[in-house]
């Protein structure tokens, strides 16, 4: 009896298996054939999606009226507009803001902006944020990240829709050099923990500054640096690079493109992560050797920008020192320092 049932059971399984195989073969043959030789004019079949994660294909630009670019214009002496490695140097007159708005607006980007307000520097936040609300990436989604040791001292500034403020508590350090050399580490940690999920591009700036004129999508790029306002007309031998061999920020005499300001840098969030991490590692190595670079993070930033060249450079319009008179070649100051008593603030 048992053998008989076993046989029936096995037979049943075999039957079901065969039926399933037959069904599968049937279905496979019924599905339309997908191969068609390339040379037949059937464009519809070749609609494989080739989009890689994170990569945005170029969107068609809505047509807008704008004057034709003039290829053969004799130009009066102006600023250099292209670095030797073909990165644009952005200044007023090099770009059409309306056209860039048409290109970038549909991409639905979110731009992050970090600033550190530690100790007495919290007093700059109100003016900083108010000016950013007026001029920084107007019309885009923005995430402000204010790092501070005293969250209660951060004022509530009204923000336009689509713009958010995050106050991130950090530890207060003993001296201001320590505070400023920790920024690279803090930014890279913050990107890894949060910002990479929240923003597409990230700018890292000093808080004791204000936006005075539009700062828009002309500044967006893979890795963006800004030319320091005090050194744009100076030969490289006079750049205040770190000149001691023992430091990881050492730059030799014949090296260097521009002297970049530590107060402004940015780019695609993954590039900024890689950049700040690299600077932080170099700072740690110096620390282990008991050395601090001449201009702290700015020295390391400059070292790194020589071997990892920025894909876009901002003219001193985007990083100005209000104590200097505005030269004729700079048409529009967009972001500049507030005159302040630095000795008092750093105590």
């Amino acid at each position: 009896m048992r053998c008989h049932r076993l046989a029936v059971g096995l037979g049943f399984c075999l039957l079901v298996g065969t039926a399933l195989c037959a069904l599968w073969v049937c279905v496979e043959n019924w599905l339309p054939v997908s191969y068609i030789p390339y040379y037949l004019p059937c464009p519809e079949i070749f609609n494989m999606k080739l989009q890689y994660k994170g990569e945005k294909p170029f969107q068609p630009v809505a047509q807008s009226q704008y004057p034709q670019p003039k290829l053969l214009e004799q130009r009066r002496t102006e600023l250099l507009t292209l670095t030797p490695w073909l990165a644009p140097i952005v200044s007023e007159g090099t770009f059409n803001p309306e056209l860039l708005r048409h290109i970038y607006q549909p991409l639905n980007l979110t731009i992050g902006l970090t600033a550190f307000a530690v100790g007495k520097y919290t007093r700059f936040v109100k003016h900083f944020l108010e000016s950013a609300e007026r001029f920084f990436m107007h019309g885009y989604r923005v995430c402000y990240y204010i790092f501070t040791d005293d969250p209660t001292a951060i004022p509530r500034v009204p923000l336009a829709p689509g713009r958010l403020l995050s106050i991130i508590p950090i530890q207060r350090h003993s001296c201001w050099e320590e505070i400023s050399t920790r920024r690279m580490e803090t930014i890279s940690q913050h990107i890894a923990e949060r910002a990479h999920r929240e923003v597409d591009y990230l700018f890292c700036v000093n808080v004791d500054m204000v936006f005075r004129n539009p700062w828009g999508p002309e500044t967006l790029g893979d890795l963006v640096a800004a030319i320091h306002p005090r050194y744009y007309a100076v030969p490289r031998q006079q750049f205040p690079y770190e000149r001691r061999h023992v430091s990881t920020a050492f730059v030799t005499d014949g090296e260097g493109d521009f002297y970049y300001g530590g107060a402004v840098f940015g780019g695609r969030v993954a590039r900024v992560y890689e950049f700040t991490r690299g600077c932080h590692m170099a700072i740690l190595a110096d620390k282990a050797n008991g050395i601090m670079a001449t201009w702290q993070e700015e020295s390391h930033l400059n070292r790194r920008f020589i071997s990892h060249k920025p894909s876009k450079v901002l003219s001193p319009e985007y990083l100005w020192d209000d104590r200097k008179p505005q030269p004729a070649i700079l048409k529009l100051i967009r972001f500049s320092t507030l005159d302040k008593d630095t000795n008092r603030l750093k105590s």
Partner: protein
């Protein structure tokens, strides 16, 4: 490559696999699986180099525009330092594909094209020549340098030369997924009845580039020979247009060239269905596409010239890629 391995397995690695912004390691791993993409996120550390300092107050060229209004570089001699660019692209081990169509009698141009490409095109980098032809037996054997190879792809010929020209878009787009995605990082699509006369290198490489037509670089947009009939997909009204690009030299990353050629082919199919053929065929459609999708680099007429027709004006410091004189009536449709 596991991104956590790339970043030393630190406690911060938890967020790396988020879809919003793939971190460095994960993007490279993806690229390896799905096809090669020029990885703009790849970390390339340049070695110490000595070269003159760029001067903020001294433009590299005062006589020409070197940056478009959408901040794409316009490549002229004097605007770039080739040593820096060569190192950036060598560190990425970039491979460049060069497509060329030698249909029917046009096979006679191949020898000079390939020999001069060996001397001037992307020297020092990995290059794959893709020669599309209906006469594979007539493809000349040209000795190639190390790191360079030639692939002959047999394709059918069309009767009319206009169709030969336009079918190129379709063939390039279909070969993008069949081969190019896996084999090269960048694609350059060139006409065969030309020769290289001077350096054409990595300075041209970017996600999408077009070349200024030598006959129109000084002209105003109303004079551009865009397709002006609204019935055509390539139509551009008289008050629009940045530049007039030449159909004989364009390129970019494989994915962007794929999108461009596919879009142009689909536009031509729509035109055929409506019984219209654009005035300059694939070039008209290319111009429409590049108006809507701005190129990330624009090549000056140094990269597309005809000395016999146009002489050698002072604004061109080099003539890099130039027309080979030919008898149009004898060579077309044969």
């Amino acid at each position: 490559m596991d991104p956590r391995v790339a970043f030393g397995g630190s406690p911060h690695s938890a967020g790396f696999l988020s879809p919003r912004s793939p971190m460095l390691g994960s993007r490279r791993a993806e690229a390896g699986k799905a096809g090669r993409e020029p990885d703009s996120l790849q970390v390339v550390k340049l070695s110490r180099m000595l070269y003159p300092q760029p001067k903020v107050l001294i433009p590299s060229r005062k006589d020409v525009l070197v940056l478009t209004p959408w901040l794409a570089p316009i490549i002229w001699e004097g605007t770039f330092n080739i040593d820096i660019l060569n190192e950036q692209f060598r560190l990425q081990n970039a491979t460049i594909g060069l497509t060329v169509f030698a249909i029917k009698k046009y096979v006679v141009f191949l020898k000079l094209f390939l020999e001069t490409a060996e001397k001037h095109f992307m020297v020092g980098h990995r290059v794959n020549y893709y020669v599309f032809t209906d006469r594979p037996a007539d493809v000349p054997h040209v000795p190639l340098r190390g790191g360079r190879q030639m692939v002959v792809l047999e394709v059918p010929a069309s009767a009319r030369w206009q169709d030969v020209s336009m079918r190129r878009m379709e063939m390039i787009s279909s070969f993008c997924e069949q081969r190019f995605l896996r084999e090269v990082d960048f694609l350059v699509c060139a006409d065969v009845d030309m020769r290289f006369r001077d350096h054409v290198g990595v300075e041209i490489l970017s996600p999408l580039f077009g070349t200024l037509h030598p006959g129109f670089y000084g002209a105003s947009r109303e004079a551009f020979t865009y397709e002006r009939r609204p019935q055509s997909q390539a139509h551009i009204p008289r008050d629009q247009g940045d530049f007039y690009y030449m159909g004989a030299f364009f390129g970019g990353s494989v994915s962007e060239v794929y999108r461009l050629t596919k879009a142009c082919h689909q536009a031509m199919v729509a035109d055929w269905a409506n019984g219209i053929e654009a005035v300059w065929h694939d070039e008209s459609h290319l111009n429409r596409y590049l108006l809507d999708h701005k190129p990330t680099k624009v090549l000056s007429p140094e990269y597309m010239w005809d000395e016999q027709l146009l002489g050698w004006p002072a604004v061109l410091r080099k003539l890099r890629y130039v027309a080979v004189p030919k008898n149009h009536r004898a060579i077309r449709n044969r």
